[in-house]
């Protein structure tokens, strides 16, 4: 069979009644366009969430001291002082799937520079902080290993804090007072923006955890609030989590059957939950749009049935000169597929344009992915075949004698 000939006849048949063809295509165009727009909004949201999660740090986990039972009263997570900086060092040393780990000591206080002051919740960490949180230092440098060992009074400011305290001034090398102690500003972190819950992540400052323990908090027995751990890959987070649990149980001499005195929080789990949520949203939006695609398909079927009736005599002629029923079927099927594919392509273009407009004007993130284009394309084809099949079958089943007599 000659496919070019089939396409030519299909083109001519569709060109015969341009308005009708255009209106039928419009049904598919709207359906495909809606799928593209809604799915791109869903995927945009998903991409944003993933971006947020990865901004928390690369393959991050938090290890927190566990519950402390004090005379029968459970004091809740983090109450115990069961986690030490030696635990953190041991984790990094002994667990191969950990890329970096750092103790975290929380401290807060008023930061003062000249006539500016700002209350900041600071984090005391070691020098691995930028690596673990995947957080670049924009200006100056991060503090060093020796700063940590010597509990030096150095501070790295978050972007917002730097802007509050040093409006129009280069903060590097300046001395600020934290709880009345002088600290030297060694660096400023890059801007990270809002967290998923709307917190300004840049409203922070980082100091060596030793400095926080000894100079700011004045702890007699140094303790840490939690540890942050970065795993070498996302796949390895599960293994890392198990190994941390094993190691800490061993180090804390917890017998079998006894409960852990610490908790490991895997941020990847949270990421998975959010991803799942946005995936469901995307699917929901997509399936609503798919309904209009089905309606468009019914339009195609309707028009193809009309076309078969109108062209009954032509079908009879074609059969008389030797067109097999299968050929007639293929002819009409091709017409409905061409119809829905053309509608689909226009729908993809218009949908893409609307998605771009939405992110431009409304500021919603949208993402027109190759996959959604491919899926809509495939969907349009399937619609064309599905709704074109019955009319095509009807055409193929015509009796040539009857068809030739049809007026």
């Amino acid at each position: 069979m000659n496919f070019i000939a089939i396409l030519k006849v299909a083109g001519r048949a569709l060109g015969r009644n341009k308005l009708r063809t255009a209106l039928t295509m419009l049904g598919i165009t709207i359906g495909v366009g809606a799928v593209i727009v809604l799915v791109s909004i869903g995927q945009g949201a998903q991409a944003m969430v993933l971006d947020q999660i990865s901004s928390m740090g690369s393959n991050m986990m938090y290890v927190m001291p566990g519950n402390l039972n004090f005379g029968g009263a459970a004091l809740g997570a983090g109450a115990a002082n069961s986690l030490t900086d030696e635990d953190v060092a041991a984790m990094e040393r002994e667990i191969g799937t950990i890329r970096a780990a750092s103790p975290v000591v929380n401290a807060s206080g008023q930061l003062v520079f000249g006539n500016q002051n700002w209350f900041v919740r600071m984090q005391g960490t070691n020098q691995r902080f930028p690596e673990i949180r995947s957080w670049r230092v924009e200006q100056g440098d991060f503090f060093t290993d020796s700063d940590v060992r010597s509990a030096a009074r150095v501070i790295v400011l978050g972007k917002s804090v730097a802007e509050k305290l040093f409006p129009g001034v280069d903060p590097i090398g300046e001395t600020i007072r934290v709880r009345n102690l002088p600290f030297r500003v060694v660096g400023v972190l890059s801007a990270k923006g809002q967290s998923m819950v709307g917190q300004d992540q840049d409203d922070t400052a980082v100091i060596p955890y030793t400095t926080a323990q000894r100079k700011l908090l004045g702890q007699q027995i140094p303790s840490i609030n939690q540890a942050m751990v970065s795993s070498i890959s996302q796949e390895a987070t599960g293994v890392t989590q198990r190994q941390i649990t094993e190691l800490l149980r061993q180090r804390h001499k917890i017998g079998p059957g006894e409960s852990d005195d610490f908790m490991v929080r895997n941020m990847t789990d949270a990421a998975a939950t959010f991803t799942q949520l946005t995936t469901i949203m995307t699917l929901l939006l997509g399936s609503i749009a798919a309904i209009s695609l089905v309606v468009g398909g019914i339009g195609i079927m309707n028009i193809m049935l009309v076309s078969v009736t109108e062209r009954t005599r032509e079908i009879g002629i074609r059969m008389a000169v030797g067109a097999r029923p299968n050929y007639v079927r293929l002819q009409f099927l091709t017409e409905s597929i061409v119809l829905s594919l053309m509608g689909g392509v226009i729908g993809i273009l218009i949908g893409g344009a609307i998605a771009a407009l939405v992110s431009n004007r409304l500021g919603w993130p949208t993402l027109v992915s190759g996959l959604s284009v491919l899926v809509s394309f495939a969907f349009a084809t399937v619609i064309g075949i599905f709704f074109g099949y019955y009319p095509a079958h009807k055409a193929a089943a015509l009796d040539p004698i009857e068809a030739l007599r049809y007026e």
């Binding site: 069979m1 000169v321 030797g322 004698i401």
Partner: protein
């Protein structure tokens, strides 16, 4: 409708005193293009059975030019549909070039029509909004002939009917005679064993009718093509070599034409019109 015509058959056949049918002895010779053996065709219209053909046996040899005649309802249209492989006999056998087509399925019949039969209809039956050339190409497309070869053969066939200068015209830009000649070119293009024409001059005036008959005669003489035409005009039948009369679903008469008319001579005697299509 066929069924409507055929109802009369049943009623009339009861009373009419059938003059002894003059039938040639049928021989399934090697040269027979068409060979029918006791062919019956029964239509069912609800509860009514309509017997359109009642045991027709006939042979048509290569190079014959046969006119099938008969009143409406005599079964000649049914005969034509069966010969043209548009329909199958209810009973009996039909051999086209020695092949029994009585049991071939729809696709197979389509292939046989494509390869062995060229149709010409009363109402021309060209595909609308499709050029003369493309109409002629149609059977070649279904035969799977390549584009180049298709074009060459279609042009050749159009030249055979004298329409080389009308290749690009749409059917509605052609006169009735020209349309019928395009249909003839389409019937010829795949080099069929048989050209089957159903009232080919029914929609044409005397002059164009004669022109079309002239082409039939020429094809018959020059290429010894087998031609079967169905007509109710005795005039037209006189251009054939043999006339088969149908009545009540049977062959009533089967005779050779004595005073055969020559279309080209008739044409010369016709008054020349101003807007002559045929040069």
């Amino acid at each position: 409708m066929e069924e409507g015509d055929a109802v009369d058959v049943g009623i009339r056949s009861q009373e009419s005193a059938v003059t002894a049918p003059v039938q040639r002895p049928v021989q399934a010779s090697e040269r027979a293009v068409i060979h029918l053996e006791k062919v019956h065709k029964v239509y069912h219209m609800g509860d009514i059975e309509v017997h359109a053909l009642r045991g027709v046996s006939v042979g048509i040899q290569r190079g014959e030019f046969v006119a099938i005649m008969g009143p409406s309802g005599s079964g000649k249209s049914t005969m034509m549909n069966i010969i043209g492989c548009l329909d199958r006999p209810s009973k009996g056998h039909y051999f086209l070039e020695g092949v029994d087509v009585s049991t071939v399925n729809k696709s197979g019949l389509a292939d046989i029509r494509n390869q062995k039969v060229g149709f010409v209809f009363q109402s021309f039956n060209l595909v609308p909004r499709t050029s003369a050339l493309e109409n002629v190409e149609l059977p070649l497309i279904y035969a799977g002939v390549g584009a180049k070869e298709r074009l060459r053969r279609a042009k050749e066939a159009l030249a055979d009917v004298g329409l080389s200068d009308r290749e690009r015209n749409m059917p509605n830009q052609l006169s009735g005679g020209q349309q019928q000649r395009v249909a003839l070119a389409r019937a010829l293009v795949n080099n069929p064993s048989l050209i089957l024409a159903d009232e080919p001059t029914g929609a044409l005036d005397t002059r164009t009718s004669t022109e079309v008959m002239e082409i039939f005669q020429r094809l018959n003489e020059e290429r010894s093509m087998t031609i079967v035409i169905v007509t109710h005009e005795p005039d037209i039948a006189q251009y054939a070599k043999r006339i088969i009369q149908f009545r009540d679903g049977r062959i009533h008469q089967d005779v050779a034409v004595d005073n055969r008319k020559n279309a080209s001579k008739v044409l010369q005697q016709l008054p020349v019109e101003v807007e002559d299509e045929d040069e």
